[in-house]
Amino acid sequence: MTYEMVPEYWRNAKIYLHPTGTMCKKCGARYFPPRKICPKCGSRDLEEYPLPEKGKVLSWTVVRYPPDMFSDFAPYVLGLIELDDGTRIVAQIADVSIDEVKVGMRVRMTIRRAFEEGSSGIIRYIYKFVPDFEGK
């Protein structure tokens, strides 16, 4: 089964390959995913910015029964991550064993292979996070 056809994946590349946030130019609030209207102050004057690539793990789990396209990869670690500008993102945490993941651990963003859209479809890449041993 194909999930995203090429045009949709191309459109979503901004999310998957260059995670982008928006900042409200009026009140300074930051958002991921990007928004067109600021829910805090109602302003429509928001500008896009590249999300910081580093953050810390707020919570994590091990996905053992994944959505079908990730079946071949389970079990894998999934984290809820607070980036250094305060925005949050959910992503897989790679290059780490289940025993090593900790709440509060520092992580940094990387781009990795996700899954293939069938035998003739595109090979998808997405952001994942890996342990950041250099600290902040």
Partner: protein, 378 residues
């Protein structure tokens, strides 16, 4: 206009291998129409609640499909989808039609047919209730979100996980004698701990599973033993990770506060509840947002086994989503039927004594939509 429950009906929840989506819906609708003692021609409008038929069954346009299947082609009929809150939202729409005096008799049917699908695709289907681009396509199952919230809760409140597991134990205990329940068998803390993780630290036996089923009600401004005194919907930020407090279900809070105002009651006046216990952790977050307990104290209530049928305030009186079963788009209608059964004295071996007021909470996804209904015996 007052809104009464004139009739109700349901199918057992389970694996109905010989019945398709229409068969289940027709069965529940005919029971509700018969119990309502109404000429079907007097039904003014039909709502069909369903969350996942387009993905699971390759069927859409359920309003016209089911209206025709029950012999009522020609009537206005609408398919309502709001993820796992589809049932609650459909009941709300029918309530609004009657309350406003626009319609007199409205049929609501919730239906979901899930068991034909392989488990891997069920996990994909459940994930459709959340955001594709920022969660599902990243690898987050619905249960993975619940697992991360459970870890946050355990850490923040230093709560024993066993307390939270009890939410599932209570639901199973209440389903033992419920004829229409999918799992009429007990569940223990030990068996939950022995079950594999679905998304650590959340165990497989802490979440709901696949079930087929349909439930229906006829709402009416004319007659019925039970009145719906409040019906309220609220929404929250769609992605859970954007919410200020990750462990607070604001939509549940908003819908409940509005419902208490409508019905002129406080949470203390509610005799029993039907929660959206899609997982143990969601049950805990829900009773906190409903105002039954302080924030961070939900696990204590379940830890004390509050909620069994012999409790002062029972919770999930036929087993809830966990044990009665969770045909996703239909569960919100099951809850209303079950409260109506209790209040009209037709709950069989699960009958509660001296109950006058019940509350149903239907939740879409991780609380992106919530619906609260309060029902009262006339």
């Amino acid at each position: 206009m007052p809104v009464y429950i004139r009739g109700f009906g349901l199918t057992e929840v389970g694996e109905h291998w010989n019945k398709n989506l229409e068969d289940l819906a027709v069965e529940a609708c005919l029971k509700a129409i018969e119990r309502a003692n109404i000429d079907p021609k007097e039904i003014d409008k039909i709502y069909i609640a369903n969350a996942l038929s387009q993905y699971l069954n390759r069927k859409g346009h359920l309003g016209a499909l089911i209206a025709d299947a029950i012999g009522l082609a020609g009537k206005p009929a609408i398919h309502v989808e709001a993820a796992s809150a589809s049932g609650g939202v459909a009941v709300h729409e029918a309530f609004t039609d009657i309350k406003g005096g626009i319609k007199r008799n409205v049929l609501v049917c919730g239906v979901e047919k899930m068991s034909d699908i392989l488990p891997a695709y069920i996990y994909t289907a459940r994930a459709l209730m959340e955001d594709w681009q920022h969660l599902t396509a990243i690898g987050a199952s619905f249960e993975a979100i619940e697992g991360m919230l459970l870890r946050l809760y355990l850490d923040r409140y230093n709560a024993p996980h066993e307390n939270i597991m009890n939410a599932a134990v209570i639901s199973h205990k209440n389903a033992l004698n419920a004829d229409h329940a999918q799992f009429k068998r007990p569940l223990t803390i030990e068996s939950i701990k022995k079950s594999p993780y679905v998304a650590d630290p959340l165990h497989l036996f802490e979440v709901t599973t696949t079930g087929d089923g349909a439930a229906a009600i006829v709402l009416s401004s004319e007659s019925g033993d039970v009145e719906i005194t409040a019906s309220s919907i609220a929404t929250d930020k769609f992605r859970f990770f954007e919410r200020d407090d990750l462990l607070w279900l604001e939509s549940v809070y908003l819908a409940a506060q509005d419902a208490y105002r409508q019905a002129k009651v406080s949470h203390a006046d509610i005799n029993f509840l039907e929660l959206h216990d899609v997982s143990t952790i969601m049950s805990v977050l829900e009773i906190e947002a409903l105002g039954l307990v302080e924030k961070g104290q939900g696990h204590v209530l379940f830890g004390n086994m509050i909620g069994t049928l012999d409790s002062e305030r029972p919770i999930n009186t036929f087993g809830g989503l966990k044990a009665r079963g969770d045909p996703i788009g239909a569960t919100g209608v099951y809850q209303i039927v079950e409260i109506a059964m209790q209040l009209s004295g037709e709950a069989g071996r699960n009958q509660l004594d001296n109950v006058k007021t019940g509350l149903a909470l239907s939740v879409g996804g991780i609380g992106s939509s919530s619906v609260v209904h309060i029902l009262k015996k006339r």
